[in-house]
């Protein structure tokens, strides 16, 4: 079987895969990082969003072999070096942006990609950017609020809406 070498959260990860092995399967079953969730497995829900060479992608819709040689960042690599939650994760906790938590890894990875591209997004821009991430619990309001808070913006106005 072909071999794949991927740098995952700054650590080298190697494994033998089939052509059809998805990046999501590689991360979960071979590397053992189960924070990348598989919700729909059809590219709709965004629970599997990770960054490949810095770009947010859906890991269920990319083959592991396509990521050979790439740098991949997952939810497990998001915390600060001392293990504390990073700004986005902390904002999700503070603003109650998760209930069951299943969509949260993808939400946090999408939020981090958005804030890298647009450090001070409007509420509309946050909502547009999350079009590919589905949450069945929160109704999105607190997720949007958390992301705005993580960007350093005042969020009370959003809560009142």
């Amino acid at each position: 079987m072909p071999k794949v070498n991927i740098t995952v959260n700054n650590n080298p990860a190697t494994g033998e895969v089939e052509g059809r092995t998805l990046l999501s399967t590689f991360l979960r079953d071979i590397v053992g990082l189960t924070g990348t969730h598989i919700g729909c497995d059809t590219s709709q829900c965004g629970a599997c969003v990770v960054h490949v060479n810095g770009d947010a992608i859906k890991a269920c819709t990319m083959f592991a072999l396509e990521a050979d040689g790439a740098t991949v960042d997952t939810i497990e690599g998001q915390a600060n070096a001392d293990g504390s939650l990073n700004v986005i994760q902390q904002a999700f906790q503070d603003h109650h942006a998760l209930q069951c938590g299943f969509c949260t890894p993808g939400m946090v990875m999408s939020a981090s990609a958005l804030l890298k591209e647009n450090p001070s997004p409007s509420e509309a821009e946050v909502r547009k950017y999350l079009e590919g991430n589905l949450c069945r619990c929160t109704g999105y309001h607190n997720i949007v609020k958390a992301i705005l808070a993580a960007s350093g913006q005042e969020v009370s106005a959003v809560a009142a809406e």
């Binding site: 052509g19 059809r20 590219s43 965004g46 819709t61 072999l65 050979d68 999408s110 590919g132």
Partner: protein
């Protein structure tokens, strides 16, 4: 999905050689192909990834003044890099799928698939575009041949797409919010030589030009020019999202909106 051999060549010529083997298929961004493979709608023996071929990526204006986009350029890159040359095309690219899909999906993959509700076919047809393959140039009029059908031969690869740049243009997409494809979409492009109007998401034969609207708008580029027209429901798609009459109405309304918004 069924298993296959995975190849990642670094040149177009190597890709063509690999694609000549029995049951081989090109893999560009995979945002349509991978879901189709999961459903076992395709069973290639070999997938040839186009992601490692630098000559298949990039956005530039060629010596003839046409905007040239290489086949494996992603929607996200087109949204960024085409914005100064062709804002309406950049806007179209920035509304395909969602951000993660736009970071993978490519223009060549979309055009080769020719989904009847895809956005790019309307832009290519309205911009009098050309599809460049490893073998030839194909005019947009000849390229789109019906639902999921194109002029491409087996093993032929889209290497680039060329667009004439209009003086003003606009794309109006009436979103089907679950699929994020166009329930109906209209691309209006105004050139010195006349106006072109291309419609996607509406016809059972895929993208097409609305010649009556083109003639009236070429005469007078104003939404009221279209008041005299009624779009026929013949051959329009009927599905749970919209009847032919609904789509016919959308075509006219969206064309007017595109004329108003064109810049």
């Amino acid at each position: 999905m069924y298993d296959f051999e995975f190849e990642k060549p670094s040149s177009i010529s190597d890709a063509i050689t690999l694609l000549s083997s029995e049951e081989a298929m090109p893999l560009s961004g995979g945002q349509t192909l991978i879901p189709a493979l999961k459903q076992r709608l395709n069973a290639p023996s070999k997938l040839v990834s186009l992601a490692g071929i630098p000559e298949l990526r990039g956005v530039s204006v060629n010596e003839g003044g046409m905007l040239e986009i290489k086949g494996a350029t992603t929607h996200a890159v087109i949204a960024k890099q085409a914005s100064s040359h062709y804002p309406a095309l950049s806007a179209l690219a920035s509304h395909i799928g969602d951000p993660a899909v736009r970071n993978r999906g490519t223009i060549g993959g979309s055009l080769a698939n020719n989904d009847p509700a895809a956005c790019y076919p309307a832009a290519v047809l309205a911009s009098n575009g050309k599809i460049i393959s490893n073998k030839r140039e194909i005019n947009s009029e000849d390229f789109f041949q019906g639902m999921f059908t194109t002029a491409l031969d087996e093993g032929e690869l889209i290497t680039a797409v060329q667009f004439e740049i209009p003086t003003v243009a606009n794309y109006q997409k009436f979103l089907q919010p679950a699929s994020r494809f166009a329930l109906t979409g209209v691309f209006v492009a105004k050139f010195d030589s006349g106006v072109r109007v291309a419609i996607t998401g509406a016809s059972e034969n895929g993208v097409f030009r609305w010649s009556e609207a083109e003639a009236l708008l070429s005469d007078n580029f104003s939404p009221s020019s279209l008041d005299v027209l009624t779009f026929s429901t013949d051959g329009l798609i009927s599905d749970l999202h919209g009847t032919p009459a609904y789509r016919a109405s959308l075509i006219k309304t969206l064309t007017k909106r595109a004329v108003i918004a064109a810049k």
